[in-house]
Symmetry: C2
Subunit: 232 residues, 2 copies
DNA sequence: TAGTGGTCTAGACCACAAG
DNA sequence: TTGTGGTCTAGACCACTAT
């Protein structure tokens, strides 16, 4: 029933911040002051302040003190995986092609390689309930000695595809999303006969030193996908 | 030049995890074992483990030990604000209307209110370089005594609009994004003459108890917006 | 020089898991 | 009963900031 002292400290200060009693830029009482206020040791006070700092409420400047931070009210967390979204999940995948190609200007720039480096191109079609819902292209740096296992490629998400050469813990990723009108070729692939918008997701993978590993572009039928994000 | 002991502990264990020497589900040495390995005190070991835990590499179970966590390789962080995106920023805003309305079925459901509760509807048009780039509608719960300051409404992002009644620290938010073909009315507003897709962002605001405060829908011209997200 | 936060110690007691 | 992590103490030394 009784909660730790540091939780009490966290709650008190958090309340003061969200109620407006403490405002962004204001300084907090010093650690020793809080030790006296809560009749506890410095390590306990620091544990509480460390939590508030991790939660983004405060920050500290050595030699000066703790200060209230401006809230980050434009940040959202999205869970994205080309196979699953808010309104439809992929239940069948057709592997259209796997090729070794030389990149054009744009792709070479994206992958930060010269145009004579080989690139693996994988094209797939995603289905849901027998209907094509997305056309997917991945470009991966070609690496000698790292075999392409078609079976694995066929059903893998992009991070999974490269998990045999880069640890998923070390992978940096980037998404760019936008809407666009489909071209004729894409309309055919996705069985689009009426006017339907495309929802495009470009996914870039980088290694731990931020060198590009791969580029993926997924063209979703606009009526088959919604992405969802939350603050906190 | 010399770094703290806990940093060394963090780096060592993080390396073991990303190199594959330690795998998801594996257990780590106990705190006392690490105390001996690094010839340091328990609080120092715990500081290191606490950082790894915050970074999502490990978790602990009281009485059992520390374990390696599966990486969260589908998570992305987006910074969204209806006024600014990867390719265009809003530089002029036209306030189309501010009305008090009664919600239809759908809106009442979204805001979790009955249909006889008043709702404020704000319609705006966003411009960039004299071109309309987005049509924006906000629905806010009507609160007696909280005045509508047109001047503030006109230029505010959604979280800013309600910052006088709910602390930005306590605000929970949700985004739903999708692509769609514009209706005739929207095409006129956004000066769309060719075929152009719409990029739609629905933004829901909740108070700290997750009660809805407002719903915003922004219809961007597809050629004027790209959103950007990163892992980590 | 006095005050601040950052690192660290060598103990302690507790609740909980497992054998 | 032993080992684990969770909480907490009462000190210490350091580097940095402000006066």
């Amino acid at each position: 029933m009784k909660s730790p002292i540091y939780v009490k400290i966290v709650e008190d200060i958090r309340n003061k911040i969200s109620s407006g009693e403490l405002n962004p830029g204001d300084d907090l009482p010093s650690e020793t002051t809080l030790c006296n206020e809560y009749d506890t040791s410095r390590m306990t006070v620091r544990k509480g302040l460390s939590i508030l700092s991790n939660e983004g409420y405060i920050y500290s400047i050595p030699g000066k003190g703790y200060f209230v931070k401006k809230p980050d009210y434009n940040k959202y967390i999205f869970v994205y995986d080309e196979m699953n979204n808010l309104i439809n999940n992929v239940d069948k995948i057709e592997l259209l092609s796997v090729d070794i190609i030389f990149p054009d200007e744009e792709l070479a720039g994206n992958l930060q390689i010269s145009k004579n480096k080989k690139v693996i191109m994988i094209r797939r079609l995603f289905y849901t309930e027998e209907e094509p819902m997305a056309y997917d292209i991945k470009y991966l740096l070609y690496q000698r000695g790292v075999p392409i296992v078609e079976n694995e490629i066929e059903n893998a998400t992009f991070p999974e595809m490269i998990s045999n050469r880069t640890s998923l813990y070390d992978l940096n990723k980037e998404l760019i999303i936008y809407a666009k009108v489909p071209e004729e070729r894409t309309k055919k692939l996705l069985h689009i006969y009426d006017e339907i918008a495309l929802f495009v997701v470009e996914q870039k993978l980088y290694d731990i030193e931020d060198r590009p590993i791969g580029l993926g572009i997924t063209y979703f039928r606009g009526d088959y996908i919604k992405l969802h994000g939350v603050s906190k």
